[in-house]
């Protein structure tokens, strides 16, 4: 009930639909990711219905969107794990990658993969397939091995780092490759000598970071999450930090309802020389492990008493000493779709002003809870980043009203978020269709431009229906002008 109370109203701007259609009943759009650079925003996801990785692109800051898709090139194969990147010195140059999976002959569990990698330098012209050139990362082994979970880090010019996990050398190891010519050729940088299956990138100044999970002590039911870092743009790497958490209680990487192995997750963010990695622990709660340089400074759950009984896919964004986390949390039972159990979930966020020592929230990102397919579950990650003072979010609403599940995109006004989290502002305002959403620690009075009191609201989260116009919000000695168009 606490979660429902806290997540009563959406704090972010009105959600934009990145799917553009209702999906077929009991199917979903899944594995949502996002990248941004300048006015270029990329949102990508898997369309289970079409069997494609979909890329939705905006080159004007989100005012207009177009899309393109990558499909399997061989019958019996399928695509997944979409990843996107924007070249930081050229927002018209974008990258779209994923895994093309094929079934091996060793039974239904014998899944093989190759990492496909596509480049387009045409900006808005990337809506045309002819503007793209595509290759496979590293050597194309003709689907002899398992390859999975590639992530991209555009470094400027034509250089991109790519990591992925593969059993090319027996164990599942994380491999790093680089291209300096937009994917025409690839150089192996090395591989991590531990069993590891998920690694994300982070960049802060000239430092590059890669997270990893570590199953080298799973015999004792311990999973590690850690990072390595590079001070020369990814050519050479140093040990960073690592923490282990126990799954001895459950002896599984899955959560009670979400059937995916949620505990293999390890998203990373870095700011200055501080590093944070998020993961889902054995209580299925979102955690953050934090370092100053390579010195560990703490591990803690973000929101143990609210934000969902199961909290999966915690994603991090940061600037300065702030960390912002977003995850999907289970809020209750729902029913089923076909033979698949479906729970009720919401997408929430929390903010920390002191690099994860304390957290404010959770608050709502998704405007509503939504039925979420739990087995088979579809999602491995969410889109969450901070750029230009705004938080951007993208996620999948699996089944809205049991059908039409959409991939949604929204953004915040981070100037307000920063002031609110710092305690300088007693309330936080988000513009949405038909009014405003307010998160407040104190009562707030809303006046129109003539000074007439429109509404007094108590502390908490609330949607206030307002007509277009100019309003002034007061709380104590703090006031804020709001213009609704």
């Amino acid at each position: 009930m606490l979660l429902i109370a806290l997540l009563m109203d959406p704090p972010f701007a009105s959600e934009m639909d990145m799917s553009g259609r209702d999906v077929a009943t009991c199917q979903i759009d899944e594995e949502v990711t996002m990248a941004k650079g300048g006015n270029t925003i990329l949102v990508s996801y898997i369309s289970e219905e079409y069997g494609y990785d979909i890329l939705v692109m905006s080159f004007d800051g989100g005012n207009s969107w177009s899309s393109i898709a990558y499909g399997p090139s061989y019958s019996g194969c399928w695509v997944g794990d979409p990843a996107v990147a924007v070249q930081p010195d050229n927002p018209n140059k974008i990258y779209f990658a994923g895994i093309e999976y094929c079934q091996g002959s060793g039974g239904s569990d014998d899944v093989r993969g190759e990492v496909w990698f596509c480049t387009c330098s045409a900006g808005s012209g990337c809506a045309s397939g002819s503007s793209w050139s595509c290759t496979y990362v590293g050597q194309n082994d003709s689907w002899a091995y398992f390859k999975d979970k590639e992530w991209l880090l555009a470094m400027g010019g034509s250089r991109v780092l790519v990591n992925f996990t593969s059993n090319m050398y027996g164990d599942n190891n994380l491999f790093i490759y680089e291209t300096t010519d937009d994917g025409s050729t690839w150089n192996p940088i090395g591989y991590l000598n531990i069993p590891s299956t998920v690694g994300y990138w982070a960049k802060s100044g000239s430092n590059v970071y890669m997270s990893y999970n570590d199953f080298s002590d799973i015999n004792n039911w311990n999973i590690g999450v850690g990072f390595i870092y590079s001070t020369d743009g990814g050519s050479t790497w140093n040990s960073g930090g690592e923490v282990f958490f126990s799954i001895a209680g459950s002896q599984t990487t899955a959560c009670p309802h979400d059937a995916r192995p949620a505990k293999i997750h390890d998203h990373i963010t870095a700011s200055g020389n501080k590093v944070a990695i998020s993961f889902t622990d054995d209580d299925c709660k979102a955690n953050v492990a934090r370092w100053q340089g390579t010195t560990p400074i703490g591990v803690s759950q973000i929101s143990p008493s609210a934000g969902g009984s199961e909290q999966i896919l915690p994603m991090l964004a940061s600037y300065g000493n702030y960390i912002y986390a977003m995850w999907q949390g289970r809020t209750g039972d729902y029913g089923s779709c076909g033979s698949s159990p479906v729970g009720e979930w919401g997408t929430g966020w929390a903010a920390s002003p002191d690099w994860g020592s304390t957290w404010d929230g959770p608050y709502r990102v998704s405007s509503r809870d939504y039925p979420f397919r739990e087995d088979p579950s579809g999602h491995d990650y969410l889109g969450w980043l901070i750029d230009g003072g705004r938080l951007y979010a993208a996620w999948g609403n699996d089944f809205y009203t049991d059908d039409g599940g959409h991939v949604l995109f929204t953004y915040s006004s981070v100037v307000d978020v920063g002031e609110f989290v710092e305690g300088k502002a007693p309330f936080l305002v988000f513009y949405t269709r038909g009014g405003i959403n307010i998160i407040s620690r104190k009562p707030v009075r809303i006046y129109d431009v003539s000074g007439r009191l429109i509404e007094s609201i108590p502390a908490g989260e609330r949607f206030v229906n307002l007509n277009p116009g100019v309003y002034v919000l007061h709380s104590g000695d703090y006031s804020k002008k709001v213009i609704l168009k």
Binding site: N167, L192, N193
Partner: protein, 168 residues
């Protein structure tokens, strides 16, 4: 804001043939760093539960420890076509010198053990029911047993045949 989506489906990938299958029921190792010859270490069990033949590996690997990223592969693994793994115990004997991580991948997922060998034969038992999913694709395909040297320098690893004891 009005959102307009222009949907274009483009098959940008390259056509290719069927997935390449590496031969099963044999050892894989980096031939440039590891020598292999027939071994003598045996573990007796019912015929239907035994697979593989004894082998001795001798190698020299200089970046097994103390490096963040490896370029030189020193891992030795036995790839099977066994897919009907329902739990049970995987047993084998090892003898040699050096520290190794033994990883076992199977349709049940992943489990592992670390051993240090000092010349005496050691029986290794791995409880496959302790396997967990470490990828989003659930299980890990046919049974695969992986030996990774964890110390720099020369190593010797003799591995017997394998015994997979499962409940009927």
């Amino acid at each position: 804001m009005m959102l307009t989506i222009f949907m274009q489906i483009a098959l940008m990938g390259q056509k290719h043939g069927a997935p390449k299958d590496l031969p099963a029921n044999q050892w894989y190792y980096p031939v440039e760093r590891v020598e292999v010859k027939k071994g003598s270490l045996r573990l007796e069990a019912d015929a239907g539960k035994v697979f593989g033949e004894p082998v001795i590996f001798r190698g020299q690997c200089m970046n097994s420890e103390g490096v963040v990223l490896k370029k030189e592969n020193c891992t030795i693994y036995y790839r099977t076509d066994i897919t009907d793994v329902k739990g049970g115990i995987l047993k084998f004997m090892v003898r040699g010198k050096g520290k190794f991580r033994i990883s076992v991948y199977s349709p049940l997922g992943y489990t592992m053990k670390t051993i240090t060998l000092k010349g005496e034969p050691v029986e290794v038992s791995i409880d496959l029911s302790k396997s967990i999913a470490i990828t989003q694709h659930g299980s890990a395909g046919p049974l695969r047993i992986v030996f990774t040297p964890l110390e720099n320098g020369k190593f010797v690893l003799e591995v017997s045949n394998f015994v997979l004891e499962q409940e009927e």
